[in-house]
Subunit: 394 residues, 2 copies
């Protein structure tokens, strides 16, 4: 038998217990929980088929009471002796996409990010659009290109047209960027024609992950009028492999920074709350930004209420993300287009001047939050490396 | 044994043979093929498990050679005697959503539609955006709210703000509209980091359906800047239950109306082609429009090539639609906002003046195309009825 030693200060202590999907050589992907630097095989220990599956969807669909029950079981389980073959070092397993993504919606919930992009893209107009403070603006992204951390990102090709060019050209993106975001995963869906009130958030949303919504700014700026981003974003969206349960984030709840004007009733919560999560963006190993999630304008529950207020169904595995997290300070911006002000103000990364991503660059986004009982919990990381474009001759 | 009688002029003769998913009372949904007014049970006759499933996805994933083989088998099968219990009158079966939709992308490929909407929404500017003739503009819609014909549509609620109002209000959509479209269903996907050349269309795309992309224009016009349509569209998208094989549409191929400027190389085909499909839009039983698919600017193959040129993966079950089909004439417009010019020029439907949809209204879109060997084939219909909004008090 094995007992997991949880070092003082571990970001994966008993107050966290995130779920993921892992495999070891020669075995099928199945559900595990991370404790310190170990992965505990839930299929082998809890004896429930929902954990012997290659995604969390079946477990998530069982609903909040079951999430609470399993969390209690897992807490007890990992505090005691475990069969040797049910515990694996995290360094020895392969981590897979933890959920089968149903629909993917990306919001735009950071006032600082939206205002920065407004200033960059529309320098002679109000930074925020008239609708921005009335509703969480968002759009649907490509669910089929959500990939797990560690997946290499091939530089996309596409059409770009600079303002001074007469016609668009085809080629590789020269302005490849990141967006550091937080994503929420729906556990229990809602049927077509019904709505999800903001106060039902905790009954519906299973957990949270880190998201890097890779963005080709040159492709995006040419294509996005009037129907929004498409090819500039659809080539890849990376998420972290560990889904931190919403149940683990109670201690991270903080008041929102404040909403003015007061939102319409369907966007009000009994007690409105944000999350005190500190992100860090590493570019080739150097931290270049520390976006603070607590500065987000729209709350996680408001985004869910908005997404369903028209009667749209939600499903187990729906992923909705916050949009880029940018704080008020320059070193808190969650996208390189903001950090380098459209590429005009390079930053120094490992001694080199950089604006957008170069081939071979690697970006890792990490995050921590206050945990119940003191200390902090971790989200792990979402990491990706840029590979050279293929097929530029077309 | 039963032999199916195919009347002269049937839109569901041997040149069509569309696939769908059906059930009879007390039985599970499975794959069938429509012949005249009958549905032939393929699970019962072809003895292959891929047809004993509640969607076409497993069959579609087998690829083009298999689609051709099964089409030959089915042609022979339905021309001979069939077991009595393998043939059902179409009026006696329930038709289900034929595919498990992976990602849903909606394009904007009709020049007349895009120009009309440009004139309506931006009266003092060029009708077409600068990018429109360079790339098929499109966006991702909500896959989880694609529903089969016959599903009632609950009038959506949401935020709307008229230009003369100081602040948005919440309530039911007052400008509920349709969009008559053609949709293409991907059979065999392509991996992340690869592209699908336009000439691979027939290897990748399994079939076509009719699409009604219900649109709440008041919600859409307030929300859509800068990230595109979201809640104004995501409440429901209806598709017809019969998937017409691309193999059945060879005789419907026509040249495109012409593209100027010449598109970039990745959008060129060895032989560019559109489809000569005649749609009809019935509003409460009266035909109010006859949109001609042959007038579409961008071809089905170009849309697929564009969607994947950035390396985005495609998957079995991906649905991409053409966007509203509008011809040059007023009676060829595929959306009521165009037919009634933003609601300012009502049309007469069954003796009543109408602009946008009222509760209880029913819309059916039908289509036919030339069939191999002469005659025509049918797409069946996509139909939906508007139910009153619920939850307007929020």
């Amino acid at each position: 038998m094995t007992r997991i030693d949880i070092p003082e200060g571990s970001l994966f202590g008993l107050a966290n217990l995130p779920y993921g999907v892992f495999s070891t050589p020669g075995t099928a992907p199945r559900v595990g929980v991370r404790v310190a630097d170990s992965v505990v095989d839930l299929a082998a220990t809890l004896g429930d088929d929902v954990f012997a599956q290659p995604s969390l969807n079946a477990f998530m669909a069982q609903g909040r009471l079951r999430w609470e029950e399993v969390r209690r079981q897992v807490t007890e389980l990992v505090s005691g002796d475990l069969p040797d073959d049910a515990v694996h070092p995290v360094s020895g397993v392969t981590l897979h996409l933890p959920v089968e993504v149903a629909d993917y919606v990306d919001f735009y919930a950071s006032e600082h990010h939206a205002a920065n992009l407004g200033r960059l893209f529309r320098p002679n107009a109000e930074p925020l659009m008239p609708n921005w403070k009335h509703l969480p603006v968002g759009y649907h992204g490509r669910a089929g290109t959500v990939v797990v951390s560690g997946t290499d990102i091939v530089r996309p090709c596409g059409q770009r047209k600079a303002p001074d060019e007469a016609a668009p050209t085809f080629g590789e993106s020269k302005r490849l960027d990141i967006e550091a975001e937080l994503g929420f995963i729906v556990g229990t869906g809602s049927p077509l024609g019904s709505t999800v009130p903001a106060d039902e958030f905790a009954d519906r949303v299973f957990g949270a992950v880190l998201v890097n919504d890779w963005s080709a700014r040159d492709i995006q700026s040419w294509e996005y009028v009037p129907l929004g981003p498409n090819l500039g974003k659809s080539f890849a969206t990376s998420i972290s492999p560990w889904v931190v349960p919403i149940l683990a984030l109670e201690a991270a709840r903080v008041p929102l920074p404040g909403q003015d004007p007061e939102p319409l009733p369907y966007l009000r919560e009994s007690e409105s709350w944000g999350l005190d999560i500190d992100l860090a963006v590493e570019w080739n190993g150097e931290v270049v930004s520390r976006p603070p999630y607590r500065t987000m304008y729209w709350s996680p529950a408001q985004m869910l209420a908005h997404m369903t207020v028209n009667g749209a169904a939600s499903r187990t595995g729906d992923l909705y993300a916050s949009g880029t997290i940018s704080g008020p300070e320059k070193h808190q911006r969650g996208a390189f287009i903001e950090l380098t002000w459209g590429g005009k103000e390079p930053i120094t990364v490992k001694g080199e001047e950089r604006t957008f991503l170069q081939d071979g660059d690697e970006v890792a986004i990490t995050a921590t939050a206050p945990a119940a009982g003191g200390g902090r919990l971790g989200f792990g990381e979402v990491r990706g490396r840029i590979l050279p474009a293929t097929g530029t001759e077309r």
